[in-house]
């Protein structure tokens, strides 16, 4: 090795040391609180895990998964409670995703189209629609819980004024879901509206005018010129909204607490409006029922499910961009 090469090597090493100086704090945190937990979670899922005294944990193989999916015979009793709740909450979550996602896509697109026309005060309108997204779900939940209150809520108050019959919004189905979805729409559409709005702003308005001179109606112009030009933005909001909707937690947690139970049954043990993330949290929170192993197993099954859907969407997007 000649002197020049040595110098180069030394410089290279120095450069990597500098890179490390800038990168290491972040990478250590990222690895500790994001990568390591991925593996640790799988480990926990094979145990009847004790978070306060890990040495008292017991390896139970796939029992947590069985408990979540099919039920498990412990001693002489067949425990199906968790499986029932898990499937019920998965069904609930899918229902919420299926109903809320189209609304959380279409409403923002419509609002963004109206804002893009730039009527008077359009900037103020945008600020108003975006405002709820900066509020916390606890504040939003408190406001909407009281709005939907059967006796004293604004919504039933209005219904009574018009001579209608009051609705037990948070205590009966499907009204509990309607309340949750209305709250979600009010709370979250601002983000998607702004993203779509930014896309529409970039579309060349001369193309609109040219099409209109040719006799196309405005809805037609939007449909055939504007929407195709913002495909990327639409993909992004669908992608992020699907993930956010799968992770729904705060709205039902505060508005309904996971209820209501169908009439004639006890609240505990029925899925009501309980979602998967709520089940996971319950597995970690409640004293007697604290079962981190089961919670880990449920979130892994569910997380795998979300991952497949996300990858499917990403693959579709690749395909779409190609053709």
């Amino acid at each position: 090795m000649n002197a020049k090469q040595k110098l180069k090597l030394k410089e290279g090493a120095k450069r990597y040391l500098t890179v490390a100086f800038f990168l290491v704090p972040y990478i250590v945190l990222f690895a500790t609180f994001f990568i390591f937990p991925l593996f640790f979670g799988v480990y926990i899922s094979f145990f009847r895990y004790n978070v306060f005294d890990p040495s008292a944990s017991k390896f139970i193989g796939l029992d947590n998964y069985k408990l979540a999916i099919s039920g498990l015979t412990i001693g002489t009793t067949n425990v199906t409670y968790y499986a029932k709740m898990f499937w019920g909450s998965l069904k609930n979550t899918l229902l919420f995703v299926g109903v809320s996602v189209p609304l959380l896509i279409i409403i923002p697109i419509l609002i963004a189209i109206l804002i893009d026309i730039q009527p008077r005060f359009y900037k103020i309108f945008r600020v108003i629609f975006f405002l709820p997204t900066i509020l916390s779900i606890s504040a939003v939940g408190i406001i909407f819980k009281w709005q939907f209150d059967t006796q004293y809520g604004f919504v039933n108050g209005l219904i009574r004024v018009f001579g209608g019959k009051e609705v037990a919004w948070l205590n009966s189905q499907p009204y509990a879901w309607i309340a949750i979805i209305v709250t979600t729409i009010w709370w979250t559409i601002g983000t998607n509206t702004v993203i779509i709005g930014a896309g529409l702003k970039e579309v060349d308005k001369q193309m609109y005018e040219a099409a209109e001179v040719d006799g196309a109606s405005y809805p037609r112009v939007i449909w055939s010129i504007a929407l195709p030009s913002i495909k990327n933005q639409i993909f992004i909001i669908v992608f992020t909204t699907v993930i956010a909707s799968f992770n729904i937690y705060g709205q039902p947690d505060i508005l309904t607490g996971g209820g209501p139970a169908p009439s004639g049954t006890v609240a505990a043990g029925t899925p009501g409006t309980t979602t998967v993330v709520m089940m996971v949290i319950r597995g970690l929170m409640t004293g007697v029922n604290r079962q981190p192993g089961l919670a880990a197993a449920m979130s892994l099954i569910f997380g795998f499910f979300i991952l497949i859907i996300s990858l499917g969407q990403a693959a579709y997007n690749k395909y779409r961009e190609k053709y």
Binding site: F22, F33, G41, S45, Q118, I137, Y218, Q233
Partner: protein, 288 residues
């Protein structure tokens, strides 16, 4: 001419629809504000009006007098403390990483960054249980020393990717000539980072900081989960405190509404000053 008058009419129609919708959007907030000033009797009999018939500060008074049970000012302090420390630490750590990824030239840079990007597809729900276990094992959730729970709320989020991506994207657009000429003048990388990249990247850093702050301030799930280990109301965040108040079976709706309004006011004030920055930051997330 026909098109011009069409444009006018279109603007008018759009204005009316948006006006009606935005009234619907503001109404819940106004109603909540009005309700927080209603007397208990007023709340029950005068449901749909926004302006109270008997205007009273009673709900706020009750809330403040009840501070042994619901120490709302401590919750505000905790939320502010956690959000500020978290945001500052995150900006330092992530802006340094963004410098390494966005400005420095080194072999393997794109590979490492690509790996980081790829992990975004992994659903965060998977990490809840292990993170919960970890912060307990670290001794951060100790009912004997519940103040330590602020570590559990400050630290794990420091590995977040969102702000890093925003800053890296911005730093990448800083002309490399600037960096090189500064180096010729004798600045090391730390000097370039501090004297050139940070001042130039101010707007991206501000957006990343706003999102870090709002995420921390508004977080509900994680603080509530961790609080369920130490159960010390003095160290609840505002969001956990609010949720606890409304989950009591005999809660006083007036007090809870007053607490919700108090929690909203600081956020609204900040929003008034920086709404353009926030909206701009969000609109960039849609542009690849």
């Amino acid at each position: 001419m026909a098109i011009k008058s069409g444009v006018k009419r279109r603007k008018r129609v759009a204005f009316i629809i948006l006006l009606v919708l935005s009234i619907l959007w503001v109404l819940p907030l106004l109603w909540a504000l009005g309700t927080s000033f209603k007397s208990a009797n007023d709340m029950r009999t005068n449901v749909i009006t926004i302006i109270p018939r008997e205007f009273t500060f009673g709900n706020y008074q009750n809330l403040f007098e009840n501070s042994a049970v619901y120490p709302i000012f401590k919750w505000l302090r905790n939320s502010a403390l956690i959000a500020i420390i978290h945001t500052l630490l995150y900006l330092i750590i992530a802006s340094m990483a963004a410098y390494a990824f966005g400005v420095m030239r080194w072999k393997g840079r794109n590979l490492v960054f690509g790996l980081l990007l790829a992990t975004m597809a992994i659903p965060t729900v998977i990490n809840l249980t292990p993170l919960f276990t970890m912060v307990i094992r670290f001794g951060w959730l100790d009912s004997e020393a519940s103040w330590k729970s602020i570590f559990a709320l400050i630290v794990p989020g420091l590995g977040g990717t969102f702000g890093l991506f925003i800053m890296r994207q911005f730093f990448m657009n800083i002309p490399y000539d600037l960096v090189e000429s500064a180096q010729i003048e004798g600045l090391g990388h730390f000097g370039v980072y501090r004297k050139i990249v940070l001042p130039l990247g101010k707007s991206a850093i501000m957006v990343a900081g706003l999102f870090a702050f709002m995420g921390s301030w508004n977080d509900y799930l994680w603080p509530t989960l961790t609080a369920a280990v130490h159960f010390d109301p003095n160290w609840y965040t505002l969001q956990t405190g609010l949720a606890t108040m409304q989950s009591q079976s005999n809660y006083d709706p007036g007090q809870v509404m007053a607490a919700a309004i108090i929690s909203i006011i600081p956020v609204l004030i900040v929003y008034m000053f920086v709404q353009d920055k926030i909206i701009e930051g969000v609109s960039h997330t849609g542009i690849k």
